[in-house]
């Protein structure tokens, strides 16, 4: 393994993500939810009654807390965030196969494993940076609206959320390696995400679904013991996606 070429590839990937605007889009989405989530938690109890004013309905919503802000952040990112991640990652490899740049690069002394690893790593870096920015923004605004709050549970929840997003990203990149074109790869990644959610209701085996990671984040707030199964299941999916991608791409013919 030549780390030098690996860094050259990562550098190229990050530059491409930046210039194509994909990096900025993801960053903007996380930044938006970092601001909007505490904002919604703070002002929703005041906004809702004003919307239904005059309809003779009385709604009593308890005042928002930092827990609601965090809950909003997790909900927004795990739904819309995942969708955006799939959209941005579905072309990671498929786009290069589609437009011929994969052949351009792979006829040079670049190992196929390094090519795939650079794709996973660069996508992960972009996700990590976006998540850190989103998290810090959410912390800042939660602090502004709700005063000081315990940071450690918030950070733990954000880490679990990040782990969930990594699983979804790995699934998307796997399909991007498997399928020739990016749109079917994205559709399959989305379908797999929905399937994993559906599987999560199947009793004990369903506990291994990454969808349960989001429930586990709630356990942190109640100081309950975390279930290891969703973590094990997620880790297994990440390993399978990475291993499968390396194996499939080793035999890919341009």
């Amino acid at each position: 393994m030549k780390p030098h070429i690996y860094w050259v590839l990562i550098h190229k990937e990050l530059k491409e993500q930046f210039r194509s605007g994909r990096f900025i889009i993801l960053l903007a989405v996380f930044l938006f939810f970092g601001i909007a989530s505490p904002l919604t938690a703070k002002f929703m109890p005041a906004i809702l009654p004003s919307i239904i004013k005059g309809q003779h309905i009385t709604i009593q919503i308890p005042e928002g807390t930092w827990i609601d802000a965090m809950g909003q952040f997790v909900k927004n990112i795990s739904q819309i965030g995942v969708f955006i991640i799939i959209l941005l990652s579905m072309g990671a490899v498929a786009r290069e196969k589609e437009n011929g740049t994969a052949s351009f690069l792979l006829v040079k002394p670049v190992s196929r494993n390094l090519f795939i690893l650079s794709k996973f790593s660069s996508q992960l870096i972009v996700l990590l940076v976006s998540m850190v920015v989103g998290f810090l923004t959410a912390v800042l605004y939660t602090n502004i609206f709700f005063g000081s709050f315990p940071m450690i549970p918030f950070a733990q929840i954000a880490l679990i959320l990040l782990f969930y997003l990594i699983v979804m990203q790995c699934i998307t990149i796997f399909f991007s390696v498997l399928i020739k074109t990016q749109i079917p790869a994205g559709i399959l990644a989305l379908a797999t995400t929905l399937l994993l959610s559906a599987v999560s209701i199947l009793g004990k085996p369903g506990m291994y679904s990454p969808s349960h990671l989001l429930d586990e984040s709630q356990s942190i707030l109640t100081n309950s013991i975390l279930n290891w199964q969703p973590f094990a299941g997620s880790l297994l999916i990440i390993i399978c996606c990475l291993g499968g991608s390396l194996r499939i791409f080793r035999n890919w013919e341009s």
Partner: protein, 308 residues
Amino acid sequence: MIIINCSDLKKQYKGESGFALSGLNLSVEEKTVFGFLGPNGAGKTTTIKILTGMMKPSGGKAVVAGEEVKLNSVKLRQKIGYLGQEPRMYGWMKGLELLVFVGKVFGFSNAESKNRANEMLLMAGLTGAAHKKISAYSGGMLQRLGIAQALMGKPEVLFLDEPTSALDPIGRKEVLEFIQNLKKDITIFMSTHILSDVERICDTVAIIDKGQLVVQDKMQELRKRFASKQIEIVFETREALLSFINASKGMNWEIVSNKDFRKVTINALDIERVKHESLGIISAHHFSIDRFEMKDASLEDVFVKLVG
């Protein structure tokens, strides 16, 4: 010295009953321009993809620059350069940026890559476009940048798959001159179906058809072997042409006629005898002619004869 050697190379695509390559044997001498000819679907691109390690052969063996050809051989790819039919490069990069990136991929330092990239841009006549986005390059510029990037790694063998097919006449001329200047240092393996390009720059030619080698020889030898001379006669009238064809029936000639242009082309091994006989027929029947010419057979004639 032989730098490319293929023996019994085969390729069968998944789900297809026939072979795209069915036992191809080739050998290419170093520091020559090797023209790889064949009609569409003959297996030219498949051969190049196998020789550059982009595709796995279904059978046989190939060695390029001393390295056995394998799907994932980094060692092989360290020694070759490749430009596909349509240059596909990162359009979001600038010309210089792409070449520096390619240099780094070949293991050069940042400074080495920059120096080499500038050299390549100068050689390709693209110094002025070094900081222009590749997506804004014209077809000819793209092709020259494509060759420049293929040369960045100082390859021993440069594979060019139909490098001029998408270019206008000016772009073609530029690229051919560029290729011709390279042959003193490296071996060029060029596939094409533009025969005039081959005649212009290739030292050796191989013609393949239906995945098999039809012939391989030096350019001049090929002409000698397959129709060293031809006679071309243009008649004044169409009637004269038809009468000539009639009168020459039974002669041991091969006549190709174009009635619309009142022209016949005669191929024969004993061209001197044919010259006297054909002039005899013309004189005996008082056929009026516009032109009577003896000329060397072109590569096109050889090609048509072999695979037409």
